[in-house]
Symmetry: C2
Subunit: 648 residues, 2 copies
């Protein structure tokens, strides 16, 4: 039931996603900036506050907010713990401030305001009676009330009533009568790695130092120091489950496997087990757990590939025929994108009458791996399974294990990708791999970071994956590889790469396709795991800089910077408190020197025109002193970027 005495209308304008149907996302320590409408009938002074609390708590914390523009109020709060938080705004007619403002206007107009002074007694007394007032406030109000009550002290009372001290007391100790509240909205808070992560992908079966030998988890352990040296904090393996033997794929994605072909790890399930088993040649569960543990000691998390599809010999096909679609000829439905057929893969049949058992079994698989130590899932093609299923699964998992993160590998239309973010995915692959020109990059960064998309969708930028060998990369020189990894690591706070192929500039492709020739998806590679080169040095440096500079720990702080050359892109980032400020300039042309004037964002840096500041290149070690808004920059293909730390 409404209280008719509440005259203020309070509403949160932003951040609100789909009318509040979905929570926004933050990580621990981030801020939520709230815009609100606070309006009231008439001319009275109104005041407002932003309230917030962990969803389970009964007690709201509160910050006062202020009018930013006509009828637009704003304020911020910091989320300091994982989990779901509530936020709302509230407003009230401030009777104390209203009274003092009227008094002041009339007194300035020369009116005799004895009655007006006395009209204020009830609000002054109400504030005096509030709990926890300081001694100073009590003394001040007691004396003012006495003065107003004494006919002979009119001037003294008026002076005290019009003092800044009283204004301060009225503002800081309001009598919040007839308070109005907005709807409550929610923010889901993850641990920091949800937003800031550097991923490295390799195939464990290629981890052996001995050519031709199937790699094992034990071999992977030997590679951990290398991953650590490069500075990555998430190590992601393609599926580690038993690989199907029926309709197994051969080399180069051939539909017929030759004797000894190892198949695609995404063809999951065989007589050796399904999604809860380990491919025998990789080692045992104990080996996997030991690897997870060793990695954890180096602050590296192992991400598991979660690919919800089955090889024809997956145990579920016999144990749960209802989880698959059966054709009129009595065979099970394989994956199709007509007229194409993928006979090595059986999709799960989510329209089954037995969907409850299917969902429960999948949850069980996830929980099982979490028990073994997995904390991150890279979900293969989530956009080919129902949204409602993911929304349920992720909520179920997060309820018990809020630390667990989910990366969506949905290369599909943007509406679906962003919807997967809304319903719970922590991060997502993106179309960064195909954004090459300056204006494509700027448009995409704006799309991802400005507006409501950035509230629910955290991008993860990959220059390559085992599935993505873009045309420019196929033809690229080392400079292009430097540029692409630099962009990924500095535009987005989460990025990753399919490492060995990238470092070693592997780029041979199937003709006319953006796929690797002799893709590692279908055979064992032997990599030179000792190799060090310009790219590994750059990657190591970028990860060090990223770790040291909080400006790189988020993505939505990206701001385009004006630089007058279509081959050059520049962008600025700073952390929330402004203590770390970086400016990146990249020559997107890997063959030619490019130069231009760059307009330094002086108002963001916090200097006035003419004031001197230093741009220190964290890659080259060079510094320049700038004291103008417009500055000359020139970049050669040898080192095609600046990563400036701004110092004053």
């Amino acid at each position: 039931m409404i209280n008719g005495q509440s005259r203020v209308f309070a509403a949160v304008l932003s951040p609100v996603v789909d009318g509040g149907k979905y929570s926004i996302r933050r990580v621990v320590g981030q801020w939520v900036h709230v815009d609100a409408r606070i309006i009231c009938d008439g001319h009275d002074v109104i005041q407002a506050a932003l309230q917030f609390k962990p969803a389970g708590s009964r007690t709201w914390q509160e910050h006062r907010i202020w009018g930013k523009a006509e009828d637009l109020w704003g304020g911020s709060f910091r989320v300091e713990a994982q989990g779901l938080w509530d936020y709302r705004v509230c407003g009230w007619v401030d009777h104390g401030l209203t009274w003092r403002e009227g008094l002041s206007k009339k007194a300035n107009d020369g009116q005799f305001v004895k009655t007006e002074l006395q009209d204020g007694l009830h609000v002054l007394k109400a504030i005096l009676d509030m709990k926890k007032q300081s001694e100073e406030v009590v003394d001040f109000l007691t004396r003012l009330i006495d003065l107003i009550g004494d006919e002979n002290q009119y001037q003294e009372a008026l002076q005290m009533a019009l003092s800044n001290d009283l204004q301060h007391i009225l503002y800081t100790c309001p009598e919040k009568k007839f308070i109005s509240y907005s709807e409550t909205y929610q923010v889901y808070v993850d641990r920091p790695r949800a937003l800031f992560s550097a991923w490295y992908e390799f195939f464990p079966r290629s981890a052996s130092r001995e050519p031709g030998k199937h790699g094992t988890f034990k071999d992977c352990e030997q590679l951990l120091p290398r991953i650590k040296e490069f500075g990555f904090d998430v190590l992601y393996f393609p599926p580690i489950h038993p690989i199907g033997e029926v309709n197994r794929k051969g080399k180069n994605n051939s539909t017929v496997a030759a004797e000894g072909d190892v198949g695609s790890p995404w063809g999951i399930g065989s007589r050796n087990g399904g999604h809860d088993a380990i491919h025998p040649e990789l080692g045992t569960l104990a080996d996997y757990k030991a690897l997870i543990q060793k990695a954890r000691e180096m602050d590296i998390e192992i991400a598991m590939d979660f690919a919800l599809q089955c090889a024809p010999d997956h145990p579920w096909v016999k144990e749960h025929p209802a989880w698959f679609k059966w054709r009129s000829d009595g065979t099970v439905q394989y994956a199709e994108n007509p007229p194409k057929k993928y006979q090595d893969i059986l999709p799960l049949y989510f329209e089954t009458e037995d969907w409850r058992a299917l969902w429960t079994a999948i949850r069980q698989v996830v929980l099982y791996w979490i028990e073994q130590g997995v904390t991150i899932f890279r979900v293969d093609n989530p956009h080919t399974k129902p949204f409602a299923f993911w929304e349920w699964l992720i909520a179920e998992v997060k309820k018990q294990h809020p630390d667990v993160l989910f990366l969506s590998e949905a290369f599909t239309r943007s509406a679906l990708m962003y919807h997967l973010g809304k319903i719970g995915f922590t991060q997502s692959y993106t179309y960064f791999s195909w954004k090459n020109s300056k204006y494509e990059l700027i448009d995409y960064m704006n799309e991802l970071t400005k507006g409501s998309t950035g509230e629910v969708f955290r991008p993860n930028f990959w220059p390559n994956t085992p599935d993505i060998n873009t045309f420019p990369m196929q033809n690229g020189n080392q400079t292009l590889y430097m540029i692409r990894i630099f962009l990924a690591a500095t535009l987005s706070s989460s990025y990753g790469l399919y490492g060995p192929a990238y470092e070693l500039l592997v780029h041979e492709a199937l003709p006319g396709r953006e796929e690797y020739y002799r893709s590692e998806k279908y055979e064992i590679y032997h990599w030179d795991w000792e190799a060090r080169n310009a790219l590994t040095m750059l990657i190591t440096m970028l990860n060090k800089i990223r770790n040291a500079h909080p400006a790189f720990h988020e993505t939505n702080n990206w701001e385009n910077v004006n630089v007058q050359n279509d081959h050059l892109i520049a962008y600025y980032k700073q952390n929330a408190d402004g203590s770390d400020k970086v400016l990146c300039v990249v020559n997107l042309n890997p063959y030619e020197r490019q130069s231009a004037s760059l307009q330094a964002p002086l108002h963001r840096i916090g200097v006035y025109p003419g004031q001197q500041f230093t741009v220190h290149d964290l890659i080259s070690g060079n510094s320049w002193i700038w004291n103008q808004e417009w500055n000359y920059v020139a970049l050669d293909p040898g080192l095609p970027f600046h990563l400036f730390h701004i110092r004053q």
Copy 2:
């Protein structure tokens, strides 16, 4: 509980106001155009529908909708009765169309699809089993099912399965399995006059033909034929209640009334009664009811001024002291905007503990006047009373009397004006009166009609009111008066004027103020009610044209038209079915001839470049044949506008 088999996600994108918290507005017969997101995992063919129903009904009506752009679906429905309507969208995986699409792609690829044909039997049978299939559909499906079942009829079965006839059946008779629904949103539907109305205001006390005599309702009856002749359909009087005698205002808003001064009608209440009484000099309740009845016979509605404030001698002050604020000196609080004091007016104290009784009493007043025949309330200063109160009051009244309309007289900040629209006001006064230049007018029309404002806020354009005598009007010639009334009547489907002063070009003002000198608010005028002149002729013509042309029956259909002269403004309107198309061109300069090229909106008119069409000026009676996109227009101060009806 969700059904996990439902794979589609369906959401309404627009129109949605504040996440669905407020209903959008329409009048009977208008369309609601809905944009929706309909997405699904995977590659299956999905289908969707827009559903709608009166809120009280259990049965949804339905229109199929279609993909307008990537993942954006759209459709429309027409609201055919007053009251609250529900709307939502729904979507489903169409198993029939999915099956046929796969079959077609494989057959085109040359594959042998016998099994695929048989895979379709279950969906064909399901559709056959649905109720109410036509005989043709039953015959077709029965034959196809037979053919598929006959091994020797493979080619015939395939041909029939790939026929357009089957595609048509599958589309029109879908098996809607595992359907998903969006949230439900609401549209409030008013009677047409809520959107299309022409208002005329005069003071009934000035209605007498005898100079110096207080006008009466009976005198007003004599004026009805004049209002009817001019073509207005709402006649609005300032308050007709007893005028306070204590602190009564004198002429020219003087704080001291002279002997015989009649006071302001907005100073409501005296020993003769309050808001439910009639000022004795105007006549009796019976006279008022007779006037309402006479007016109704001419299709004119009488709008009542609803001004929730009291003169110091209003009966409520003694009967309900708790409804007023009392000062520490024992006096009742008068209206203030410090340092200004309005001692003739006591505001109601909405923060009173007795608010329930106050709200109930006000509702009683409104219901009382509705019983006497009032159907429209023009609410004085609603922004100085609580929003929650209006939301409740209007909902309470509409529940019993959906025909009753409320015009908001809130000249305040736009956020408050639009909020009053959201919470229930039918129409609102606007800032049209102060929009004079071409670009001010275009910006304001865009603000009002594009985006979500137009969904909840219906403007009513007034060139003048007893309170508004703008600086340009004070100095304006007859041409300016013609321009302003033309703009009001053609830009907005609802408009009004403070008539006698307007027609007779009264424009003397208090120096430096936008108020009339010797305002009729404080004294009785004697008007020449027989006068006819260029303005009355124009008004009569405009109202005739407005009534005859449905393009003028709504406001949101306004579209700016490019005309290359800053003194000329042009705009286009057409009704929903495109059967009525008008193009207005106005010379905003009342002193000089202006000419320019005008870019006819050919794509809206529905002609191709080079195709001939006629623009027929409904004011001058002249016609031009245009066959180009760019056309020459020239307007003189003598007749400073074209009102073109477009004919093909």
